[in-house]
Symmetry: C2
Subunit: 245 residues, 2 copies
Amino acid sequence: MTNTAPDQRSDGLHYIDMRDRVAGRIASGELKPTDKLPSERQLQEEMGLARGTVREGLFQLEAEGLIYRRDRSGWYVSPPPVVYDPTRWEGFISYVEAQGRVPATETMSAETIVADPLLAEVFGRRAGAPLYMIRRRRHVDGRAVLVEQIVVDAALTPDLLRFSFDQSLTEILKSAYGLSVARNVVSMQPCALTGYEAEVLGAKSGLPGLAVQRTSYDAQGRVVEFDREHWRHDAVRISVDTRVR
Amino acid sequence: MTNTAPDQRSDGLHYIDMRDRVAGRIASGELKPTDKLPSERQLQEEMGLARGTVREGLFQLEAEGLIYRRDRSGWYVSPPPVVYDPTRWEGFISYVEAQGRVPATETMSAETIVADPLLAEVFGRRAGAPLYMIRRRRHVDGRAVLVEQIVVDAALTPDLLRFSFDQSLTEILKSAYGLSVARNVVSMQPCALTGYEAEVLGAKSGLPGLAVQRTSYDAQGRVVEFDREHWRHDAVRISVDTRVR
DNA sequence: CCTTCCATCTGGTATGGACCAGTCACGCCC
DNA sequence: GGGCGTGACTGGTCCATACCAGATGGAAGG
């Protein structure tokens, strides 16, 4: 392996060529965000390849975040990702709008649950303590990009379920319960979207994603929110700005 | 955790079944980290599937980070990821060791370059200003997990190239030049490893990865380090702990 | 005008065959 | 004992084909 720098030449691999040709059309602006690509069978003929080879190239572009698919509908050019700073939570709606995009939120469920051992530890409660769990799906420009599951301590937020969660939860916690966030512990891991997450995002099982887990504390060190989010990998860029301790 | 969520009907999809059967062997401990899986042709026969179907299942497990491949050698069970806080840079070696793993660093190249427009802007210099660029590959327990490209300002670090970079660069900057980091701006994005990055990590083009870009400033606001890292997606979990501003 | 239904288009799954290109362990040779 | 070559093994690429199931849009019917 060369110790010198990057840049490879046409490997002669058909699916790499195919990938680069389509990537070229996107880079040149011939194909624009949300545009639909030709069908796999059209590309197959156009490039003189087997369909499997065409699909291999498409998978590469999908992994790079350049294109995405809508099940049994077609392949589309990905819009640019939104920038997200999980440590500065101003609310999904406001920061998506600040980037000139159109956000939308859908509450999938909101219910009372009891703490299992893991959640009990997170909240510093006994197993069996009452908690609220809210599941939401969030969209940017009409595309579902993330699904989240938020857990809050029922003892701190009595009767929370009377609110609508299609708006900012942070706002509700602050104005109705006087809870505000002083510290966030965030952990992130690239993952594959499978099962429930893939299904509600309309993605094929195995699509690359990003799992974000956020624990928010108030000034007294109480856990205000415990949040797990699953993002489509091509929909987000994480940005964090911190002072070193 | 309480995955009260829907789902869990065996779809009857062969590659999902195959995936789950192998995942079961890993979960049960029958297959342990770094263990080699049976060959694709063995699995094919064992499960009565076509090889393409077996591979589809393996790709899913790879996307989930459960297994990885060594080119033309075989599929192996992934070791657990290392936890990495890009905002608290103590150095790769020390935090990997702190997690009971064995780190290693390899310097691929170290050279003087001139600032292109992008780098010039980052460093607040004119295009053409002299900079040092260092490329390194880093390993955990013998497996290459990330490749990084560090750029530093030659004006702040005269004659930097006389050092060996198989040790901590942060340490060199501090002890030899009195530079220490007061602020980090980090941005992360799931990506696909392709071309140069895939090659030096011994990965197939298209493997999911995580791109991390870090700009480090000293107390005077000067750029000390500009770093781009590409991680194997299954090798790392990002963790950030911050106070809200 | 709206709803319903159906033909068609699209991607999703699965098979099986072929050949290529590194890897790796074994055994030969020096 | 150590270096080298070789051949079996393993994943990587590519092909052709078939059928399934959801998406879609237009035609038919209310």
